[in-house]
Symmetry: C2
Subunit: 394 residues, 2 copies
């Protein structure tokens, strides 16, 4: 059994960011940038008015002054002339400041009568002007590579005049659920059998993490079926199996994959739920073998699969963020396995569910957090400080 | 000018959750459930082994006992007989517990020699057994309507034997950017013109909030073009415009929409950035008019558009969550407008960007949070407690 942190480091060390592809700007939300976005123009391109009002010379903008309107400059239609003494030009938010003007009088601070403007409020130079380049200048790096693009980034890339983006390819993740006892929802169920939840939950997980899932047909507990599943995963960037990573006679995934040249890195980690976690490779195809119990599979996905998908996507592959909470009920001492305990979270108080069997998916769905307990942690009283992983993003 | 909270309440009061549609389970991640998911079976369906080992009678599970192996029960292949005194059956994680057995001996606590099992550790009754119905029973409500489905929920719905889900339809949001001065990225730019960022940023925003965006062609500052844009939005659940909600001569959206029967609810709110926010309806089509400045448009989207999309999606339409932070630099007293100030956030300290012009999109992209300042808030010293909206999910 190796510790969680070492296992994650070994998984990440075996992976590299995928190459780039060109996509259209509207497809960019949530993708990871592979090349810097450099401003192709200066924004604003010229000094612009920040308000609706009048362009004029500050020297003329004295209380009671009467100025002659010599034109208008709607946004997108700059005024071609130059403003002289005693003159003003009507403008609007986003209008280019005409030559000769050095300030903007708000429309609510003026009275217009035919083409004569009366100044009702003095204005110093430079008011209500957005200076050229105030937001950015051509050549500026607007967004650095390695960032997952937000809605705001999409706007900024557009403003910098980028219709196309270079992003890391989405990781293709093949999901192979194994077991004679499992059926797909709605399909006939064998005596004593159950409905498979892992494949679809993991497919949603892969999607949420930014990958593209492929759910392979369920493989029976049979060496040939498992080897055939591995063949079907060729072309993927990562193969994820569930079940069969334990030590029982009928845990056959490793054996089945050995027929396809499995190079096993490790297959047992010091955590609960999820001891039988397997990692290795089939040639160039990395393999992450998750436990078959649905809670173990999803908790291991949070700790290992998401960092793996993120690293393939061009991100650092950070472990899940740990937050602080207060324990809501006493807990016994922990053993040699790092423990992730399903809990409710209310007002900063994390209270474990009384039963933690790794087959109980409902408590995982209802939990707001996992309490992380280091190996050999002593008994805890209610009120103790604990670290938690928030589940709302999973 | 009406307060932010009142404006949001009026927007939400005008909207209703959209109807349901049936989708396949793998499409369910992130969708909002419209009907309860009720367990169609009991899970586990029978008493199952939680480990790899041997089923036996606890009365026989005494140190040194030698038992006869009378069969095996791989997961998915229950043992048909009954275990009698002095007998045991090989089983695995997920195997059905055979009749006659009342406990499970771990395989590592036993020695097998041909068909004779030696017990190396005494076991009390009921060990390592997952009881029938321990996770849920047929008829249980597994997931209540009105929840945005997580990866865990998808697994739980599968385990409950649901291949199809009833979810609220995704809101279709038509986006109409207006202005003579704006061009699409890569297209020719008029003198003094800028590249449009709002439409694509808002499309990403709509996607992130769970809606389906349609970007309409940019409408010129022309009554007919704006009315035609409104016509193109028919069939949408919400029309979002940007620009033209202010008071200048060239702010024509309201005028253009009046030709299509605009019923205006309000068009001015007491907030910064974003005073000219418009809300109304074109017949049955609700209309949210966002300001044209890109920062104002996105901040108003956070405060109004996301709650609107969420309400249409079957969620409550909550305002963005407020978190606590420490102010990193002094701030002047606030005026009558509720203020949302772009800031960096490091170790719980929120430091405003020195310039807050609502044309500066780059600072919005770089900000980690918005500091929310109530109207008429007094001056604040560095170190003061402030409320923030986190930007990482936008």
């Amino acid at each position: 059994m190796i510790p969680v942190e070492e296992a994650r480091a070994r998984v990440l060390a075996a992976l590299s960011p995928l190459g780039a592809e060109t996509i259209a700007l509207p497809e960019g939300f949530g993708r990871v940038l592979a090349a810097p976005i450099i401003a192709r123009l200066t924004q604003p391109p010229a000094d612009l008015s920040a308000m609706d009002g009048y362009a004029l010379r500050a020297a003329d903008a004295v209380l009671g002054a009467r100025l002659k309107i010599i034109g208008a400059a709607p946004a997108g239609h700059p005024f071609g002339g130059t403003i002289g003494p005693g003159q003003a030009v009507r403008l609007f938010t986003g209008s280019v400041l005409p030559a000769g003007a050095d300030t903007v009088l708000l429309q609510e601070d003026a009275t217009l009568n035919a083409d004569v403007l009366t100044v009702n409020e003095a204005v110093p130079p430079g008011k209500h002007i957005r200076r050229a380049g105030q937001d950015f200048a051509a050549g500026d790096v607007l967004i650095a590579p390695g960032r997952r693009l937000t809605t705001r980034d999409i706007g900024l890339a557009a403003a910098g005049n980028h219709a196309w983006l270079a992003v890391h390819r989405r990781p293709r993740v093949a999901i192979l659920a194994t077991g004679d006892e499992i059926s797909l929802p709605g399909a006939p169920i064998a005596p004593g059998g159950i409905v498979s939840s892992n494949a679809h939950a993991l497919a949603a997980f892969v999607t949420a993490a930014g990958g593209i899932p492929t759910i392979l047909p369920i493989a029976a507990d049979d060496l040939g079926a498992i080897a055939a599943g591995a063949d079907a995963a060729q072309g993927a960037d990562l193969l994820v199996t569930t079940g069969g990573a334990s030590v029982g006679d009928h845990d056959l995934v490793a054996a089945g994959l050995q027929a396809r040249g499995l190079a096993l890195d490790f297959w047992k980690i010091a955590m609960r739920p999820g001891k039988p976690l397997m990692f290795g490779a089939l040639g160039a195809l990395p393999l992450l073998g998750l436990p078959g119990n649905p809670v173990s599979a999803l908790v291991c996905a949070i700790l290992f699969l998401r960092p793996a998908i993120e690293l393939l996507s061009g991100l650092p592959g950070d472990p899940p963020a740990l937050h602080h909470a207060i324990l809501g009920a006493a807990m016994k001492p922990n053993d040699q396995r790092e423990d992730y305990v399903r809990a409710r979270l209310q007002n900063g108080v994390a209270t474990p569910f009384p039963m933690q069997d790794s087959g109980m998916l409902r408590t995982l769905a209802q939990a707001q957090c996992l309490i992380r307990r280091p190996a050999f942690q002593e008994a805890l009283e209610a009120g103790a400080a604990v670290e938690i992983v928030l589940l709302n993003e999973y």
